[in-house]
Symmetry: D2
Amino acid sequence: MQIYSSSSTKLTNLHIIKSSSHHNQWRHNHNLKQLVVPSSCPNLSVSNSQQHPLNQSVAAIVLGGGSDAELYPLTKTRSKGAIPIAANYRLIDAVISNCINSDITKIYAITQFNSTSLNSHLSRAYTGFGLGKDRFVEVIAAYQSLEDQGWFQGTADAIRRCLWVFEEFPVTEFLVLPGHHLYRMDYKTLIEDHRRSRADITIVGLSSVSDHDSGFGSMEVDSTNLVTRFTINPDDKGQQDLISVESRTSRRSDGTSSQYVPSTGIYVIGREQMVKLLRECLVKAKDMASEIIPGAISQGMKVKAHMFDGYWEDVKSVGAYYRANMESIKRCILVVGGFNCRFYDRQCPLYTMPRCLPPSSMSEAVINDSIIGDGCILDRCVIRGSVVGMRTRISDEVIIEDSIIVGSDIYEMEEDVRRKGREKKTEIRIGIGAKTRIRRAIVDKNARIGQNVMIINRDNVEEGNREAEGYVIREGIIVILRNAVIPNDSTI
Amino acid sequence: MQIYSSSSTKLTNLHIIKSSSHHNQWRHNHNLKQLVVPSSCPNLSVSNSQQHPLNQSVAAIVLGGGSDAELYPLTKTRSKGAIPIAANYRLIDAVISNCINSDITKIYAITQFNSTSLNSHLSRAYTGFGLGKDRFVEVIAAYQSLEDQGWFQGTADAIRRCLWVFEEFPVTEFLVLPGHHLYRMDYKTLIEDHRRSRADITIVGLSSVSDHDSGFGSMEVDSTNLVTRFTINPDDKGQQDLISVESRTSRRSDGTSSQYVPSTGIYVIGREQMVKLLRECLVKAKDMASEIIPGAISQGMKVKAHMFDGYWEDVKSVGAYYRANMESIKRCILVVGGFNCRFYDRQCPLYTMPRCLPPSSMSEAVINDSIIGDGCILDRCVIRGSVVGMRTRISDEVIIEDSIIVGSDIYEMEEDVRRKGREKKTEIRIGIGAKTRIRRAIVDKNARIGQNVMIINRDNVEEGNREAEGYVIREGIIVILRNAVIPNDSTI
Amino acid sequence: MQIYSSSSTKLTNLHIIKSSSHHNQWRHNHNLKQLVVPSSCPNLSVSNSQQHPLNQSVAAIVLGGGSDAELYPLTKTRSKGAIPIAANYRLIDAVISNCINSDITKIYAITQFNSTSLNSHLSRAYTGFGLGKDRFVEVIAAYQSLEDQGWFQGTADAIRRCLWVFEEFPVTEFLVLPGHHLYRMDYKTLIEDHRRSRADITIVGLSSVSDHDSGFGSMEVDSTNLVTRFTINPDDKGQQDLISVESRTSRRSDGTSSQYVPSTGIYVIGREQMVKLLRECLVKAKDMASEIIPGAISQGMKVKAHMFDGYWEDVKSVGAYYRANMESIKRCILVVGGFNCRFYDRQCPLYTMPRCLPPSSMSEAVINDSIIGDGCILDRCVIRGSVVGMRTRISDEVIIEDSIIVGSDIYEMEEDVRRKGREKKTEIRIGIGAKTRIRRAIVDKNARIGQNVMIINRDNVEEGNREAEGYVIREGIIVILRNAVIPNDSTI
Amino acid sequence: MQIYSSSSTKLTNLHIIKSSSHHNQWRHNHNLKQLVVPSSCPNLSVSNSQQHPLNQSVAAIVLGGGSDAELYPLTKTRSKGAIPIAANYRLIDAVISNCINSDITKIYAITQFNSTSLNSHLSRAYTGFGLGKDRFVEVIAAYQSLEDQGWFQGTADAIRRCLWVFEEFPVTEFLVLPGHHLYRMDYKTLIEDHRRSRADITIVGLSSVSDHDSGFGSMEVDSTNLVTRFTINPDDKGQQDLISVESRTSRRSDGTSSQYVPSTGIYVIGREQMVKLLRECLVKAKDMASEIIPGAISQGMKVKAHMFDGYWEDVKSVGAYYRANMESIKRCILVVGGFNCRFYDRQCPLYTMPRCLPPSSMSEAVINDSIIGDGCILDRCVIRGSVVGMRTRISDEVIIEDSIIVGSDIYEMEEDVRRKGREKKTEIRIGIGAKTRIRRAIVDKNARIGQNVMIINRDNVEEGNREAEGYVIREGIIVILRNAVIPNDSTI
């Protein structure tokens, strides 16, 4: 476990610092890259006195997300933010919609890993976002330059290399947002809290007890919500578990009480502070959570926590993805604060790519506790507890239960099928073939499921990789790969 | 009775007129305005030698449609073109999509009657239509000017008063299109036919035997598709029926055979011919079908017919609207050439207003032979043979059969309902209340159907007007009015 | 002069009304239609407690403007709002930009008179305005309906007939804005003032002494900015002048002081108050300024004034139009608060139709104190103190002084000129021909000025109409009509 | 020099092949990476029988361009395609406009090097490009994936790695286009030529004698335009020069005549051929010109040349950039076929990012033979033979001659300047300070030129790098860097 101390508790922590290393408490930590903290780092007090409206003074930096083994194979050809969710959306729509609904209109999305789908989605979905240069969702893809021919090396490195782009507008704060979280937050309240407290950095923490490790570190917070220590331990699950075991509220040696709060990875950072941290103080830091935030604390910056107790889901694994989709089925009335509340909320709509698909056509469908995306073609079938995405075609006598059918990018025409056949490719059409049964599975986009197929995890496998055959099994959930072909009469 | 002959057969036809006025059904009809054909009308031969690509050389003029008693109450607050159809569309989308798919990119829509919904739909749906001034759907609403403070007096008057707008682009032909027809046509073929035959005007005629009066007149066509006579009789159904009773092909006195073909009201007219007809020859003509077309023939212009034998539906009455929707339910496989073929046709998509609605949520729906629009909320219900439009909310234990539920403009939030109650308005929510049963009815937009309502035309009424109670009955079909409130426990 | 009393002086005024209808100045005024004030008009106190953000709770109603003889011939083929101004803009852009910059995002523009240009401009300019239904500039053109086949009869009638459209969103206030004024105002401050004072109606008044009659009436305002009387006298200049002669501040009989303030015609009106006034209390009123505002006061509504002391120009005559353009030449540094400050103000940009015109090409231009629109083609010429609009073409040896060249809609290609020649039309090209001299004139759009033409008002005419020859003279300013052709060697 | 033979002249070339290597004539060339040509490469005859309209059957692949030392410092922070040109445009607009004007509507732009400006420009400029998925300009930025974590290794590698994206639409041909060329071409003619000749690949060659090496290789072409040999020698200038020295037409040993034609790097390639070449035959090839084209010839594919004799400029060096801008000043009348013909051509407009900038404001400007972009602010200055880009601010007593002022991204407000001063940055404003003189220079975007500065290349330096001082000299042209600050009273 790593510990960083804020300047306000410097003396106490100095002891810790000394015992672990001579003059820098986190420098020699084996989890961290060597940080060079220049001794000449200038005074960091920066005034926040200007109070412009949000849409002029705050820019959001949405992080598109990297490769994530736990989400494979959903991230095989796309980044996390581009994963389709809740039938009609992509993951990143939740965060972008939060921005729009909070009147934050300068949105940069930084992408690098498998970014094509995400870039395309963002460009098509948010082009109609607004007039002029002050309302935009701008994608900044990783790029080579003469100075730096490498990829972005981490979240901090990515932001540092894009600072010259962000400088176009003289905003006062940056709002840093991981792009693959599901939650509903009014960032206005957050920004106001940040300004009122005159913090240099404000971190959103989860106030409700949560059994999952946020993966974005833990804050030790005093009674004024000042962050006194920040710990991260992405690699050492054993130690991290200690946090959830011990009481989250502890009494400190100086008599004050403090609390451990998981970070969401959502930060408000003053523009000048961001520039100083990335360009002057921590010029080699690559990661925001493990390097910049603790570095800021050790530099004496005022870091505050902003508590959030709503629904918050980090879609970081196939299992989390499955659960988030299942959540989206439930109605607003049942799940107060749930994600899909927003589906039908006029004040806070969930934006995504506008479409003009035909209506769903159903010849004899029985549908229970499910959501059906736009433009599906459903024959005689039964659908229970499932999410059925856009343009899904389901044939006769199909039964789908507790599953996610991601849908299709196109309507495959008869002539397409014939052409494909001519080209010696499969003649199995995109969609679900007749008499097929699917249970507790994820069928990724454009998959071709033949007739009389059973996707039921017959052997109760927990983890398995049959990629050559078009599927993998994660946490007991079968995932049919994008574009996969499952032949007639298969049983999985 | 008026008769217009093409110049090439002028003498001959005069003879026919004189000798057989007793069996020309519309000559003496008092409903027709006297035509003023100035004798000094200049020579009308105009060359069509320039062959520009369609998107540069043709402008479409879409007529938004006037008040039509037979469509009441669907046209109570909207023009014909704005009537919602097939769950996700408006009538006018069919014609606009034909233009786009035919690469005709200069589209003017002339509107006057109840034009607000139509203007709004066209502006929102087709703004993203394209780059530059050469790709647009421009709405021309009726307007007052210093010279003419009146409304448009008819289709010809409307086009005449908008000629100054059309002159912005030096097109070679205008394509005149009624905006409320359902059909799929490649206008490229039509234009090529027009150019190849060096016609002044080309009229699209229905070649298949059709039992309904097109309402746009009848052409007598010779073996070269030259239109030799043009008749119209919108008000006199009895006589008009003669056309369908008698053989459509007749032998003329001079030994040549001719054919009566119903016109669709779709015209290709050379730009210069249009200007001369409207501004020089027939300066007081108000209507295209009854005045300009016959006037052009009598002036000696070369008017040709272009035969069309596909699906073509003039949505001109509540009954026709009901049938067109029912057609849209059928699948492409079943109805070759039917309207909804295009739903899933990538080459010829049907465009409309892009949306980003949430997926349809269904708690326990049984849906047979129906189409379901985007973003519906369906509880425990049975839907058979019906069209369910966007954002429709259907409560528990509802049965809907052979009906059209047009849908809703908004999701009514709990707070909206409460506010409405506070304002002493109804607390019945938009949508269909619990335990309600609807059969063979049209429920127009934003209607509030209470609980335990029976909309079944209990008394088998064919025609009835109960507008104060929120509905009318047309051709045995109950039409619940837009925004109407049907109280709990009503039976209709 | 007409006088209306506020509720605070109700008793007194009732007495006046009853006992002395002979000195009730507006009741019997022949300029006014008889107002029907139902005695049963319900209590009008309405709470304004809900404080939503502006973009959700306020809708702007922009009035496109009618026929205005003093602006002729600029309004010959367009409405006031569509008049081009300051080289790159249309008049209405000023008001729409105020809305956007004030975060008012629901904008309805009501049009009727010569509306085609205005509708087209608004549709093309503001389509990219924003995401979703909550950000729009929607044009509502005059339309016929079954209930009312007439045109809008005035501003109040127009709003009344569009109320059903405005009801789509449950806003709390309407902001009524004449569309042809030039000024810069943050409507947020206005709305906040309205809400803070719990007024039913707030009227923007001009606090600076202004020698021109606003044309929107005069308010008698007490020390709390309550409007106690409202007078309008559009036709009787003599009496109106009294206002500017007498001291604007007077002492009332009860010892309190009051002030006469000219109204701008800009109103904030609570939604419920608007509905009640138009639908219940004053169901036959046609005009806002002369009927609804005084009616509201006499009904006892709380009407407040909001003072505005910035630059405000009502472009209501050819002279005012000329002066407003001349103002736009001056630099920000010189004219604090002037209109063109906003040209280069990033916080409050002036929006208009986006263009991608080529750069201006100049072969030998000497340009003093002028503004030049996009994509001009200037040969060897001298331009002084002038406004030169988009796509203007100026040939060799041309001198333009103190003039407005509105510009052109197109670049006329050589082939266009040749085609026009072939069609027996002029061969004079759009733009200003060689050796021509223009002084103190307005050259409207697409005019064709030949070579060696003198437009100098040789005879010092103040008012003249030579429309057949392509121009009129207003206030000593020559106005060349849109599309006019001025032959070579003419002198005007 | 490398030589590749087409199958049709196999025997002849075999001799050459044998003499240079045993079984593959270009395999051992030291300029080329080792190519693996699988012996099992399938038969490559592919039918082109389907003749869809261009906008459905052809996709353009625009190559954003890499790092190019000869263009430095213009490419310091942007890729070649993003370089501003002709006051209002970016280089890539020329190629994109060609596509749009040729009705090719599926446009992919592949970017990697310094791609941020280019991506942003393309997204903002062409978002309004059209309806639906069939009309788009989609940016594909370099990305990491699980299979390949590296950057694109060359043009062929980039296309190979994006093939999965291109497969979304079943086009019949790809049109490969370098993104930094200036020319006007109707690709329709090119595609028709390709289809008519049933070629596998068609390469656009320059038919006019041109003294510059195209850099894209040379074709030996027979009398039927069949490409019989393809040579490239990017690194060996000496040998390449031979081409321009020797007569371009030579007589071959078999008595037929052949011709050497420089390639433009523009290719039409059948979809199936592209897939086979990249995925089956030449799976390790990185470059199109040096590997794929010769590989296709040696594989026996039919490669044809399509001659182009219009203006064509490869903006590949600072000098070429300077000359292309100077060309853009000349008028259409003077330079037939020149680039800027298109400025005012309604049929073939040059598209770019739409703007709504204010008009240019000029207080006392004398402008000769120059083009002025939108929204400039020019004080008392003289501009001769120069290109002045958007938002350029020029102060009093400035003289600019034979120069390119790229312009500015923003209007710097007084408050911006003050803030910058407070932050210890310069107070020199963006633009050209008073009394400054600039001759034969390029001032890149957002540069701040102080007062009384002389940019005149006083010492007649041909090549020089003073980047720390804000400029470099290339081919005798001074280039002031983007964002550079040139202090008052400097002389360069």
